[in-house]
Amino acid sequence: MPATVQTRDPRWVGQGIPRVDAEDKVRGRAQYVDDLLVPNGWHGHVVRAPVPHGLLRGLTPDPAFDWSRVVVVTAKDIPGPNCIVSHDRSMPVIASDEFLYAGEPVALIAAPTLRLAREAAEHLRIDFEERPAILTLHEVADQFKHNDPALVKLCGQTIRKGDAEAALARAHKVVEAEYTAGHQEQLYIEPQGLVAEPTGDGGVFIYGSMQCPYFIVHELCEALALPPEKIRVKQAAVGGAFGGKEEFPTWLAGYVALLALKAKRPVKIVYDRHQDILYTTKRHPVWSRYRTGLNRDGTIAAIAVDFLLDGGAYLTLSDVVMYRGILHAAMGYRCDHVFVNGLVARTNTVPSGAFRGFGAPQAIWGLESHVDAMAAAAGMTPHEFRLKNCLVQGDTTPTGQVLKWSVGSPAVLEKSLERCRFDEQWKKCSRGKPGAKSWYGIGVSFFAHGAAFTGDGEARIKARAAMDLDWLAPGRPGGIVRVSSTEMGQGALTVLSQLAADGLGLDLSRVSCPFPDTALVPNSGPTVASRTTMVVGSCVYGAAGKLKKALEQFAGKPIASGKEFDEIASAYLNKHGRLRVEHLFVLPPGTQWDQKTFRGDSYPGYSWGCNVAEVEVDPRTLGIRVKKITAFYDIGKVVNPVLAKGQIEGGLVQALGYSVMEKIGIDRKGRFDASRMQTYIIPTMQDIPEMDLDFVEFPFDHAPPGAKGVGELPMDGLAPAIANAIEAATGLRMRDLPITPEKLYEHSQKNLGR
């Protein structure tokens, strides 16, 4: 059944080798965008809408200011249509007659110094007429609940299996609840930054901090009125991204490119932290409502979910975030009658965007909290209920997909429960016992994460990877990995090098994996959706195998050693020059997907995870301490166990922040209210719990050597595990993230009359 059969024992795959870029990073030699010298470069600055919604009447330059020292760009300077071509064409690069969020660009300024650019901005008067604005998730959730026609829907999608309403009506018990979560800031430590330089041929060269070089090319070519090949994009070292550098860099690229083309010189914008928090995308706030039915025997009769995301001012990628959300909102459990109603609503805030997990954490937050409520209603413990109802191989998902291969369930669940002795610990939970010095609780969550793009996404983008046979150095031939996947800290360069080396059957020293440059690499798709190791990695592995075969054919004999490779490869290069081979990703045979009805194989495979959280709550202060996390994951074949663990640890700590620390709202002026690191609090080394993590391997045979996604998985399930543990500790069910002592206190006042 596997597309390509892998026979040889892998050498590098499975080894926790150090990262290929580690040395540079610990010596301070890695070059991030702000470390690069930009000769003759100017600094760019963005002039922004002062209120969340308004009609733009004009921009009036102060005649007393010397405008000859700066370059100003407005919507009128955009050579093509004024839009960023994302999932629709609604978002302008620069607002022209209406703006929809506070901080939306209305003009751009470049000057020899940043100080002068900012000074010029103060001399540009923005004339506007303010319009009414909707600012929060709570407002749109209210509109939704009351069927208010004022609700602006950016998009919607449903999933239907069986007849959920009829099954709810017949059910032995019905359990209902609502769950919400606010924004989350990616807070990569390197702020956003890009440089654009005009090229001699009328094009533009853009480089800096980004996840998806080809997004910039394809999303801007209309506005810049340039053919794609005249927009060259290259990645610099990226100081963290987590989705935050997925779609946003296109906006920033638009700013620097327009300025550079008009100023006829390089222009750089590096945000300071305050700007970065105020004006870049965040995780979508979510409101979800679960209505579920139980049968007498403790099985699930029906799941009905309303899933509403706050998309901010423009659609951007929100449709796909919502798709991933609804595909995970009822996933993981056997149930014949499912209805999921997904919706993205507009608010007058910065467009919400990609953040590790991409809708799945928001969905799993509600689902896995609700599973505990169902377990209680069924008179079962949370772990018994999960073990009884979890999907296993051969079961059918809400979209009708039969789980045929690589199913790490119930393995991850069983192993986690056993490792932390859940059954024993569960009996020790305090449940808000009066007089106790400290309350203890344990909670579990269980989840799947669709690996790679949703539905036929992978088939549509036709991801390709190339391997070049070329000189790595004079006299030293080797394989160069050519993909558009970026290294943003997750270890892509290392993992892809390992896969390339194994594909070639050679030592790692004969492989190189440089940063992508659209002038040199094919489009292997964006660096998102935990698809790099699984999809692009498999293409690299395939391409490397083909490269080896081609050389063997050239030589008329097999290549058995590095020395032989050197001889044959050198002979080839001397005779024919560089050789490029490509490999295309193919979905498993028989994959079916209907994008309209959302029926069919929603993902080629799933990674699986289980999180157990143990918490202590101080009955006096209601301070919450997450003491320990036990977790098992099935990410298929683990290519590099050290890097994979690093992904899990880092992701879990981000999820810890999401669960109990990271709080950011919208103030009355429509701006984020925690816009500095002093106010947006994320975990430090002093906040981290003990972590007991492990893998079970259920390789994905359709993408040799069998990896599935890892990056997003650790973000998915911790919040509900912690909420479940907090209920076990305090007796209080918290349904809004982040869970803070203040919220616990408010809730306890209502519930316990304390």
């Binding site: 926790g16 150090p18 990262r19 870029d21 580690a22 040395e23 540079d24 990073k25 610990v26 010596r27 301070g28 030699r29 890695a30 070059q31 991030y32 702000d34 470390d35 990616q186 807070l187 990569y188 430590i189 390197e190 702020p191 070292a237 990226v238 100081g239 963290g240 991204a241 987590f242 300071d272 932290r273 943003m488 800290g489 997750q490 270890g491 050290v642 890097l643 663990k645 690093g646 640890e649 880092g650 992701g651 879990l652 700590v653 981000q654 500095r676 690191m677 002093q678 994320i682 975990p683 430090t684 080394m685 002093q686 981290i688 972590m691």
Partner: protein
């Protein structure tokens, strides 16, 4: 604009810089001395990416006015680590344990590790956490950094 002249010992070398008013130590190091290893993550003393050692003490260089740093001060940045035995041990340990992911926090983080191990040969868990509490890392979850510091402590040179 009137500048002040300062002479410091940076990573063991004498440097004289002309500082315009308001120049931050971070900018003096990055722009005047060309030592781009030290990073700016917030400019407000919160993230620790800009941590350097000033006379052996870790400081956030984004909060320090360069003109206030007196003549003769000893400054050590990430670029200076490899000139010391302890620094090389730390770098090796960070690499071995996979302590760097995106790497942006590391130039500051590793200076805090160096300051800690220079004073405390065998730090316990609480001391390690305390010493790095001012260094935010968004990638690693800190686990592997703690492991690296422990490994380096084991290998730290006898005085």
């Amino acid at each position: 604009m009137s500048t002040v002249k300062r002479t410091w010992v940076v990573n063991g070398e004498r440097w004289t810089v002309d500082l315009p008013p308001g120049r931050r130590l971070l900018d003096a190091l990055r722009n005047d001395l060309g030592l781009k290893g030290t990073k700016e993550g917030c400019g407000e003393g919160e993230c620790g990416a800009c941590t350097v050692l000033l006379n052996g003490e870790p400081v956030t260089s984004c909060l320090i006015a360069a003109g206030q740093v007196p003549d003769g001060a000893e400054i050590m940045t990430v670029e200076g680590l490899e000139k010391t035995e302890g620094g090389r041990i730390l770098q090796e340990a960070y690499i071995e344990r996979g302590a760097a992911q995106c790497g942006f926090c590391i130039p500051g983080m590793i200076m805090s590790s160096f300051a800690l191990l220079s004073k405390t040969r065998t730090p316990d868990d609480a001391e390690i956490r305390e010493a790095h509490a001012g260094n935010i890392c968004r990638c690693t979850g800190y686990e592997k950094i703690i492991e690296a510091v422990k490994l380096a402590a084991n290998r730290w040179p006898e005085k």
